[in-house]
C-alpha cells in the first residue's frame, strides 16, 4: 500500500513528518540501482545519524543529545601503540588531502589512503589561503592551547568522533566512520599541536 493511501489526499498538512521520513527512506533504498551492496550500505543511517536528522529549525531534545554523546563516546578507539601524537609531516599531507573513498561508476576510487579532508572546512596553516570556512580556523591551534597530553587526547578524540563533544556537529566522525585509521588521526593531531608544524609557526 502506498503512503498516499494511508492519509487523506488534499489535506494541507499532508504528508506529516513521519510519513515524509518513511517516503524518503524508501527513496534512499531505491536510489542506487546496480550499485554493490557494500556501497549502498553507506547510505543507511546509523542511530546517531538518524537522531541528528532534524528538519528546519528543529533541535535535539536533551535526551537525544545525551544518547548521541553516549554512543559517540562508546565508539572511541585508540592506536595500538598508545601514541596519540604521530608524525606532523604525514599529518600535513593528510590535512590538505580531500581525496579517497569517492565512488564513480560503482567503484571506489584508487588511492593509497584516504585524505583527512581538514582544509576543505578549516584554516590550518595561516599561509595557505585555499581553505574553507565551514569549521573554525585552527591556525595556531597548539600555540594557543599548549601542547599538553590532555590537549593531544582531546584533539584525538575530537577528530575520531566530534559528536562525543558536540552532538550532531557538522564535522564528520572521521575515526568512528572508518574514514581515517587511528594512526592517521594521530598524525593529524601532531600537525595541529607540534611547535614545528606550520599551523603553529610564528611569522
Amino acid at each position: 500500500m502506498t503512503a498516499a493511501a494511508l492519509a487523506v489526499p488534499g489535506c494541507a498538512t499532508y504528508p506529516d513528518g513521519e510519513t515524509a521520513r518513511q517516503l524518503g527512506e524508501k527513496m534512499v533504498s531505491e536510489a542506487y540501482p546496480g550499485m554493490p551492496e557494500a556501497l549502498v550500505k553507506r547510505a543507511v543511517q546509523d542511530r546517531p545519524q538518524a537522531l541528528c536528522t532534524k528538519i528546519g529549525k528543529a533541535s535535539l531534545t536533551r535526551e537525544e543529545a545525551a544518547e548521541v554523546v553516549a554512543l559517540s563516546r562508546a565508539s572511541l578507539r585508540y592506536p595500538a601503540s598508545g601514541k596519540l601524537v604521530g608524525d606532523w609531516q604525514a599529518g600535513a599531507r593528510l590535512a590538505y588531502s580531500g581525496t579517497g573513498s569517492r565512488i564513480r561508476g560503482g567503484r571506489v576510487e584508487k588511492a593509497k589512503e584516504n585524505g583527512a579532508l581538514c582544509s576543505n572546512c578549516h584554516m590550518l596553516d595561516p599561509g595557505e589561503i585555499n581553505a574553507g570556512n565551514l569549521g573554525p580556523s585552527l591556525a595556531a591551534y597548539g600555540t594557543q592551547r599548549g601542547g599538553s597530553e590532555e590537549l593531544a587526547k582531546y584533539a584525538y578524540e575530537r577528530i575520531y568522533n566530534a559528536w562525543a563533544f558536540v552532538p550532531c556537529s557538522t564535522m564528520p566522525r572521521l575515526g568512528a566512520g572508518h574514514h581515517l585509521t587511528p594512526e592517521q588521526i594521530a598524525d593529524v593531531v601532531a600537525y595541529l599541536i607540534d611547535p614545528q608544524s606550520p599551523v603553529n609557526r610564528r611569522r
Partner: protein, 272 residues
C-alpha cells in the same frame, strides 16, 4: 563529438581560466576568484550551443520509432514548451509519477522514439569524448521558460509527498562524511576551500541557484543538468552513484525548485 566542438570547448575554458586568474590578482580577493571569468563566459554563453543542438534534436525524427519529440507533453499539452519547465517537477497522470525535466524527457525518448531506457540513462551525462543528447534537450526545453518565473505548485498529493520527502532528504545525515545537503548549504558566507556555497535555506540565494540550472560548467566544458548536480554532490559525500531519474533525485529537485519559486529563469546558467 566533432573535434572542432572539442577544440572550442577547450579554448573557451582556457580563456575563462586566464581571465579569472588575472582578475583575482588585480583584486587580491581570496573568495571566489573565478567570478570575473564566469561573468565573461555568461556574456558569451557557450551553453547557447547546447540549446541550438537541443532544438535540432527535439524536432528531428530519431530512434527506432523515427519520431520527433514534438508530441512530448511536459505538462501543458503535447509539444507546448513555453513555460513548461517553470512548472516542473509536476505530477503526470500517464506515468502516475512526479517527474522533473530530465525524467520526463527520458519517458518521451523511450515511449515516443523507442530508445532503450538503460541506454538513455547510460548516456545522460556527457564525457570528454561523447556528447549527451539529454544535456542538449534539457537545455533547449528549459530555455523555453527563459524570462519566466519558477512556479512549482504542490496541488496534487503526490507533489506534496515529493516535496516533503525532498525536504526530509535535504536534512538527512548519512554516509562516511555524515553530511546532509544542509550541512554545507544551511548558512550564509560558507565555503569549501575557496568555493562559495549558496545558503539554500535563504529564499533569495535559492532563487539565484534555481534561475541558472541547467548550467554550462567551466570546469567540465559542458552543460550539466540538475540531475548531474545532485549526482556530483552525492559523489563528494562519498555516496554511491545517484540513480538517474530516481525518486530521490526528483524529490530533492521538487524541494529545491519549489523553494526557488519566483526565480526568473535564464538558462543555461554559467557555473564553475
Amino acid at each position: 563529438m566533432p573535434t572542432s566542438v572539442m577544440r572550442d570547448r577547450i579554448a573557451v575554458f582556457l580563456i575563462a581560466g586566464f581571465a579569472a586568474s588575472g582578475a583575482a590578482f588585480a583584486q587580491g580577493k581570496p573568495a571566489d576568484p573565478l567570478a570575473v571569468g564566469r561573468q565573461l563566459l555568461a556574456e558569451d554563453n557557450p551553453g547557447d550551443l547546447w540549446v541550438q543542438r537541443g532544438e535540432r534534436l527535439f524536432h528531428e525524427k530519431r530512434g527506432p520509432g523515427r519520431a520527433s519529440l514534438e508530441r512530448c507533453d511536459f505538462g501543458l499539452g503535447a509539444g507546448k514548451l513555453d513555460g513548461a519547465f517553470a512548472r516542473m517537477p509536476r505530477y503526470f497522470p500517464d506515468t502516475d509519477r512526479v517527474q522533473d525535466l530530465e525524467s520526463r524527457l527520458l519517458t518521451c525518448m523511450v515511449e515516443l522514439q523507442g530508445f532503450q531506457r538503460e541506454e538513455v540513462i547510460r548516456n545522460a551525462f556527457s564525457t570528454l569524448d561523447r556528447n549527451s543528447d539529454m544535456e542538449a534537450l534539457a537545455s533547449y526545453v528549459a530555455s523555453r521558460s527563459n524570462g519566466m518565473k519558477m512556479h512549482v505548485t504542490l496541488d496534487h498529493p503526490r507533489e506534496r509527498e515529493m516535496y516533503k520527502a525532498g525536504e526530509y532528504l535535504f536534512h538527512r545525515r548519512n554516509g562516511p562524511t555524515d553530511f546532509a545537503c544542509v550541512s554545507c548549504h544551511g548558512d550564509d558566507g560558507r565555503r569549501i576551500r575557496l568555493q562559495d556555497l549558496p545558503n539554500m535555506t535563504d529564499a533569495a540565494q535559492m532563487r539565484a541557484v534555481i534561475a541558472g540550472w541547467p548550467a554550462y560548467r567551466g570546469t567540465q566544458g559542458t552543460v550539466r543538468t540538475m540531475q548531474h548536480r545532485l549526482y556530483d554532490c552525492n559523489w563528494q559525500m562519498r555516496l554511491p552513484d545517484l540513480g538517474f531519474a530516481s525518486d530521490m533525485s526528483i524529490a530533492l529537485t521538487t524541494y529545491l525548485n519549489y523553494s526557488g519559486n519566483g526565480a526568473v529563469i535564464q538558462v543555461p546558467g554559467v557555473r564553475r
